[in-house]
Amino acid sequence: MGIPAKRRRALAAAVLGRELEPPRANAESGVLLDAVSGTILDVSPHLIIIEDDEGHEERLVIAHWAKAWRGGFVAPADLPVGARVIIRALRQGKVVDRIWADVTRMTGIILSVSGRDDIAVVLDCGPHRGRRSVVIPYRSSGRVRVRYPRLEPGFLFDAIGTVEGTTALAQIPATSQPAYRAAHVPDPPAAYGGVQSKISGTAVWSDHIEAGVAYPMLEQSDTGCADAGVSCAALPYLALGSSVHVRNVCADRATVLPVVACGCMAGRFCDRCVECGTSPRGRVVELSAMSYVELGGDLTNGCFNVRVGLG
């Protein structure tokens, strides 16, 4: 997507006579954290060696307070070699603060449910992500079902879990289940005062790899995403390649990110984030896991309160 997005920005800037470069994050944006992702080559109580996504070997010191999550909190040294990790790092990305291993997020519309102890769920994750089979293991089914009482076709599902082999295991619910069916998303509130320059709401993360955000209000004809253009927050229409200024209100960190994907699933959730205070309803952006961590988010919390403006 990269070249068309840059090209679009350049052409739009030329025809509207605006700055070609989007505003960069400034001193008020706070300092972004470092995020590193890769596969564990070796790990000891004080050192972790990973092969990052570019194939380079990285050695990071593990801080004594660092915690790791792999379906539950474990000591970093207990992580298995070969696990895929996302690391929040300090000190120019050399000191490990937090590790999430084999973490994945399962967001979609329930298509079918089967099984009694271990519950198998098939999700429709949108036209661009396709279908996905997930398993709610018996040990997690209690805490998932207390937040997702209606495991029925047509309702929304959003959980955080781990990938073991080829199986995605839902470990913790990411949010409470919306009371409505996925096809019945509430209308956004009336925009009496026009469009706000900054929109507050919820930011979540997803498994998409490209750094940037998935945004719900895109024109269907421009994106090829038949489910785009649905949101219960009053969001303006943007395009793939538009830049948005994303501020994590809880951690007071901000950055400018491009719209890289259709956020058709995020738009169907009309929930609030209570990470710090109570956000207005509606998921505004869906960040890649790396961007989410860089902005100070905790992957197991699933969301942070966000303020988004057109970059």
Partner: protein, 264 residues
């Protein structure tokens, strides 16, 4: 005379109510539904849509009976309909104070209040007058009938919370950044503009190589004959929307943004 004025109002209210309910039932969004569905919110979720459709069909049936059947039965059925509606609204206000009356679909989103209940009471009274006196079909107009008609209309308008809702919707229309706008309409606006006519000779093809929307602008990119690209930006609001153009790359220097009105 009073019945002659009341009957057209009953017919009009039943038709408008039935159409609005069918439109609401045909839409696919919820839970604002609590505000729109009215008494149907008391029914189980899977029955709500059918309840709305049945109510609309019942209203159309009463209209047909009032206009076409020379028998007291449809007139007394209208009385029964509005009497039950009054009770249901009273009960809805007690059990679900957050729900709108749903009388006219999603326009009736205001929670049920005394005005909505009073309106149904007035309609019940009018239905009783029609049942005691009425005859089928619409009456021949005369001055006294028109005066009563105007009086009833004023009373009903005063008792209708939908008037404020409609006014607010008209006054506070969603801004163009939030409104869907078909790309085909934007393309039609572009092709009817003077900017298009002035630059069409530069284009290698009349089909855009790329098109996207951002906020209130839709952009169209065309390959030019000299290897450059011609970019048009069409504003998506207003009757005579501005259209801008720039020629980028190729052998031609990049032109600065040229604001030109489509009306020029």
């Amino acid at each position: 005379m009073v019945a002659a004025a009341a009957q057209p109002i009953l017919v009009f209210m039943l038709v408008i109510g039935g159409v609005a309910k069918l439109v609401t039932a045909g839409r696919d969004s919820e839970p604002g539904a609590f505000g729109r569905l009215g008494p149907a919110v008391l029914a189980p979720e899977s029955w709500r849509k059918n309840a709305l459709i049945c109510c609309a069909i019942g209203e159309f049936g009463l209209v047909a009976g009032l206009l076409l059947v020379d028998h007291p039965a449809p007139r007394w059925m209208t009385v029964a309909f509005f009497t039950v509606a009054t009770y249901v609204l009273y009960d809805l206000r007690r059990r679900r104070p957050d729900a709108g009356c749903g009388c006219f679909g999603d326009v009736s989103a205001t929670p049920v209040g005394l005005r909505a209940i009073s309106r149904t009471l007035v309609l019940t009274g009018m239905a009783v007058i029609v049942a005691l006196d009425g005859s089928p079909g619409l009456p021949a107009p005369d001055w006294q009938v028109l005066a009563w008609l105007a009086g009833f209309t004023v009373v009903l308008l005063a008792l209708s919370p939908e008037i404020e809702e409609t006014y607010a919707r008209l006054k506070y229309r969603a801004p163009c950044e939030l409104r869907p706008f078909a790309p085909e309409r934007a393309a039609a606006r572009l092709r009817s503009s003077a900017v298009w006519r002035n630059h069409v000779h530069l284009l290698g093809s009349e089909l855009p190589s790329d098109s996207w929307r951002e906020l209130c602008w839709r952009f169209f990119v065309f390959e030019a004959l000299n290897g450059a690209e011609v970019v048009f930006a069409v504003y998506l609001s207003g009757r005579r929307p501005p259209v801008r153009v720039a020629v980028v790359g190729g052998h031609t220097p990049i032109q600065q943004s040229i604001p030109v009105s489509a009306s020029l």
